[in-house]
């Protein structure tokens, strides 16, 4: 894990999110307030600007800076949550560990922090329905040597998690105000998170 790889992943996330702009926009218009895509894109744009400054730095430092940047430029639920994710991740980097081990530990820590920040758990129709299963899958597979197999697994559980948000009501976030009307709609944050996971997974499947 190094700066170049981290920024490659972010660039890949940005590409995939851009490709699904209209879809994500629509999801938050249906059961939210329509700003999710703009929050996400603003965040990605801002952190990509840091590439030249941060690329040589340690992953620990990079994640911290990315988290701070998201925290101070995005706003909304997703700003707070993704900042929390990144800041959490920065705490668990250990240069002695393998990449997969690092990612598992870091991601797990990040997602735990998000749960606390959002006072939310699985099944509440949020991005955590994607991120918690992914985190679990990473932990379960942290000793797996075939990286692309892990990538395929997380890609799969992310998609499942995302789809699972469709037919439930929300108990957290803005969609919770809709009650039953939220049913039948995928959670925007779950969709953007799943796409991000997919982008990263694809990178590893290909590489």
């Amino acid at each position: 894990m190094n700066g170049a790889k981290i920024f490659d992943s972010i660039k890949n996330i940005e590409i995939i999110i851009h490709d699904h702009k209209e879809e994500i926009e629509k999801l938050d218009q249906e059961i939210g307030d329509g700003d999710h895509i703009f929050n996400i894109l603003r965040g990605l744009e801002e952190i990509l600007k840091l590439k030249d400054i941060l690329i040589e730095e340690s992953p620990e430092f990079i994640f911290k800076q990315l988290g701070m940047k998201i925290m101070t430029t995005v706003g909304g639920s997703s700003g707070a949550l993704f900042a929390t994710l990144l800041l959490g991740m920065s705490k668990k980097y250990d240069p002695a560990h393998s990449d997969l081990n690092n990612i598992s530990q870091m991601f797990n820590e990040g997602v735990q922090s998000m749960k606390i920040r959002g006072k939310a758990d699985i099944g509440e129709k949020t991005m955590l329905d994607v991120l918690i299963p992914v985190s679990k899958s990473l932990i379960d597979n942290s000793n797996e040597t075939n990286i692309s197999k892990v990538a395929e697994k997380i890609s799969f559980v992310a998609k499942q998690g995302m789809l699972s948000t469709k037919d439930i009501i929300a108990t957290k976030g803005r969609a919770s105000f809709l009650g039953d009307r939220a049913k039948g709609h995928i959670d925007p944050g779950a969709r953007s998170s799943q796409l991000a996971i997919e982008a990263i997974a694809n990178q590893f499947i290909i590489s």
Binding site: I31, G34, D35, F38, N39, G76, S77, A80, K172, F177
Partner: protein, 330 residues
């Protein structure tokens, strides 16, 4: 999208700059991080009130910065909660010896960002979560109710109490009390257009309304055929009263709030409907405020807010205030 705009990205900073200059006698605007604070720091030690939230609800909250109300407001992007560094910077500027009281509308984004902001400051602080919207069912397992037009009433009354030199704890208790005495519910005839999106968040056909709508152009609890003003007023007022359970002869503050796209003429008509209804229930409307205070950009529609009054709330509602959007007795 038809809006007065140069570049979509710069709407907020240009608008804030205009706001700062138009009201330079009482407030100042800081950009990056964005916050609005009083021009002159109060000379007496007092609890500092900071509110904020997504933009698009103007005059809430920036329009309520000034003597007798807020010390600072942190505006986020349109309908997106502000970022924690805004709350941090505002806190550091307006801290005035007695701690910081955050006033936050009950939305995940706002709560999380304000919490993160609070984590970043060293001053004593407390938070009032406003959740006056009775359209949303409350339960311990959910996010609960939204904070809507009642927020202004909390800001006005707690702002007044803070001005007297009350402690942080006293202000917090009083704010929670006012929030508990307050219920709101609204209805929308149209959605609104978030500038970055360029098109309305939702579409309503010519004879439909969103009942129990929030203030972000988001869908409400149910979509219905439009009704007469008296009918929908009754439905809303009944729901609020069910929640507030006022005693007979209770005195209340009745606030009719426009969402931005509804003429005053209609808001006063709604006030008339509601007042008659309340008086038929032996509830006395002894204070009133009608106008666009908590808006959703140009959304057509409005909401009713009722606050059960006691001596304290009445005194702090009546006391002098000097902000750009609410001003009396000074």
């Amino acid at each position: 999208m038809k809006k007065f705009v140069n570049k979509v990205d710069e709407i907020l900073s240009e608008s804030l700059t205009g706001f700062g200059n138009a009201h330079s006698d009482i407030i100042k605007v800081n950009l990056s991080p964005d916050y609005i604070s009083r021009k002159l720091k109060p000379t007496n030690d007092k609890v500092s009130l900071i509110s904020g939230g997504g933009s698009g609800h103007e005059p809430l909250h920036g329009g309520f910065v000034g003597h007798g109300m807020l010390d600072a407001a942190c505006p986020g992007q349109v309908f997106s909660a502000p970022t924690p560094d805004q709350m941090e910077a505002a806190s550091n500027e307006v801290f005035n010896g007695k701690g910081i009281l955050f006033i936050v509308k009950n939305y995940s984004g706002d709560i999380m960002n304000f919490e993160m902001g609070a984590d970043m400051i060293s001053h004593d602080n407390k938070t009032i979560i406003v959740n006056d919207d009775v359209a949303v069912e409350d339960s311990t397992f959910t996010t609960g109710r939204r904070g809507v037009a009642g927020t202004m009433i909390v800001e006005k009354t707690v702002g007044s109490l803070a001005e007297t030199g009350a402690s942080l704890g006293e202000c917090k208790v009083f704010g929670d009390h006012v929030n508990n005495m307050t219920g709101s519910m609204g209805v929308a005839f149209s959605s609104c257009t978030v500038p970055a999106a360029g098109k309305p968040t939702f579409e309503l056909s010519g004879d439909e309304m969103e009942f129990g709508v929030g203030i972000h152009g988001e869908p409400g609890r149910k979509r219905e055929k439009i009704k007469s003003a008296n009918e929908l007023t009754k439905e809303i007022i009944d729901t609020i009263l069910e929640d507030l359970k006022p005693e007979k002869n209770q005195e209340v503050l009745l606030h009719v709030n426009g969402f931005g796209g509804t003429p005053l003429m209609e808001l006063y008509l709604l006030f008339n409907s509601a007042q008659k209804l309340l008086e038929n229930c032996n509830i006395k409307v002894s204070r009133s405020i009608v106008g666009n205070y908590t808006t959703s950009l140009e959304m057509a529609g409005g909401s009713f807010t009722i606050t059960k009054l006691d001596q304290n709330i009445t005194t702090h509602w009546d006391s002098k205030v000097h902000t750009s959007a609410l001003r009396w007795k000074m």
